[in-house]
Amino acid sequence: MPMNAWNPEIELMPKDQLDRLQLKLLKIMARRMYESSPFYHQKMREAGIMPDVIQTLDDVRKLPFMTKKDLRDGYPNKLMMRDRGDLLRYHASSGTTGKPTIVGYTKNDLENWSESLARAMTSFGLGNKDIIQVSNTYGLFSGGLGFHYATEKIGATVIPASTGNTDRQIDMICDLEVTAMACTPSYLMYLGEVAEKKGINLKKDTKLRYGLLGGEPWSDRMRDRIYESMGVKGMNCFGASELSGPLFMECVEQDGIHFWKDLSLLEIVDKDGEPVAPGERGEMVITMLQKEAFPIVRYRMGDITSVMEEDCPCGRNHPRITRIQGRVDDMIIIRGINVFPSQVEHSLMQHPELGNEFQLVVDRKGHLDSMLVKAELKPEAFTDNIIELNALRERISNRLKGVLNVAANVELVQPGTLPRFEGKAKRVVDRREY
């Protein structure tokens, strides 16, 4: 039995009891969608189903899928199930094209969000004696505030450092005796390197022991390197703004991310949307069982993973997934921010000086991602005036940054030189190694 549980009743509930609870919550959710979500109500009508279609857990498959397109079409708040009186907060993530996806939260939504993280954080031993530096971005992006409130919930001390100013981040880790840090794995690697240059060995000279790491793909190799060089245990975290934010994490076993069955229902499907065989990999589909403001029902995450079949030695009967192994779409993650080539395209098309082709080159310099966008300059837009051309490049770069929330280096190239595609365009060149 695990030593540390935030919510022992739910976390350690026997399997059959947990299944019954999940079914009950699924039934309630289906009814809530039918009654409170005009958007999902219509989906159910179109599928010819009523809430009572749910009799067993497998019946979840009778519910229609939700996709990123639904979220895009729902801008700004067509999907919201509660009126503004019940909403306590909005977060936004960049959508697949120009418009962001806006997610609203009720009081319970915020509670469940921090509850979910509190369970995980407690499971590997964090508690009120800990000092947790949250170095995810605070703001519309949900990464900062997500860990912030979870840290407060477990009674630990939070340092809302947000991103940037690495020197100061290191000072605080040293001076305030920080024990855990939430950030992207690549940022932690970078911070370790900067500390080393300042003559600070994170392993010997600080109390930092845990990294709450996510927001981008990484590997066990990277986890080992972080542990060896910094003495920091990297705990893998999964989340998405649509779901709430950073949401599910590994337990003390560091072997797969637990998805709480009372908060979510996890499916893995093949490309036709049919369930894969147990343990097989496929696309993750998530139903959030208790969300009140923003519906997530059989939402196709686009992430490829598999559910681990063995019971977790930690004693929690909540399913675990393996590391995310890829995407079904062309989404890439740069410095923890989701970027769709379609967003880049949309932004570039606002500039009449550019042609239709573009290429996105992602690389990792040191431990930080860099993104280069190559775009073809139209012959008629070429000018002998370097100042004007540089200004054009600057405008393109600024617009991209505004849309993507991540800096993009722009390179103007000669028309006709970028690769053309007859079938599916492959516009992303990812040179990173994890």
Binding site: F382, Q414, T417
Partner: protein, 143 residues
């Protein structure tokens, strides 16, 4: 063309992206077209360059380069003759104080030397340079 129009020299401006041996590719096209290069410079932009070149047959050079996929534009510049001796440039600059020069480059062509300039207002530039008694080369010198 006005009387002074002959002093407008056609320079080729060629967009050069950041790829190895772009200069070589331009030079090859000119060589194969038997185009002679009279003056030449490379300007550095942010991640790209602009190759500026004076040639004996600009229209043909432009067509050949365009056919090879290059982005080419004509830019009008002025060619000012200088004495090929110490102080040659200084003699000119005294008459150029009020002219806004965007860029320039020079070459030596014994017995004299030449300063190529791109000016903000070419009409006014010609007028002032001639009024200052400077010798401008006309198009026939090049083309």
């Amino acid at each position: 063309m006005s009387e002074v129009g002959k002093y407008r020299i056609k320079q080729l401006s060629i967009f050069s992206e950041n790829r190895p041996n772009r200069l070589g590719a331009v030079a090859k096209v000119l060589k194969e077209g038997k185009i002679n290069i009279l003056g030449f410079s490379i300007a550095e932009g942010a991640g790209y360059g602009v190759i500026r070149v004076l040639v004996d047959r600009p229209e043909i050079a432009r067509d050949l380069l365009t056919k090879e996929g290059f982005v080419v534009k004509f830019t009008e510049v002025l060619a000012i003759q200088m004495e090929d001796r110490p102080g040659g440039l200084f003699d000119l600059t005294d008459h150029m104080k009020d002219i806004n020069i965007e860029y320039g480059y020079g070459y030596r062509n014994p017995p004299y030397a030449v300063l190529i300039v791109r000016v903000e207002d070419i009409e006014k530039g010609i007028e002032q340079l001639l009024a200052g008694g400077l010798k401008l080369l006309d198009g026939t010198t090049f083309h």
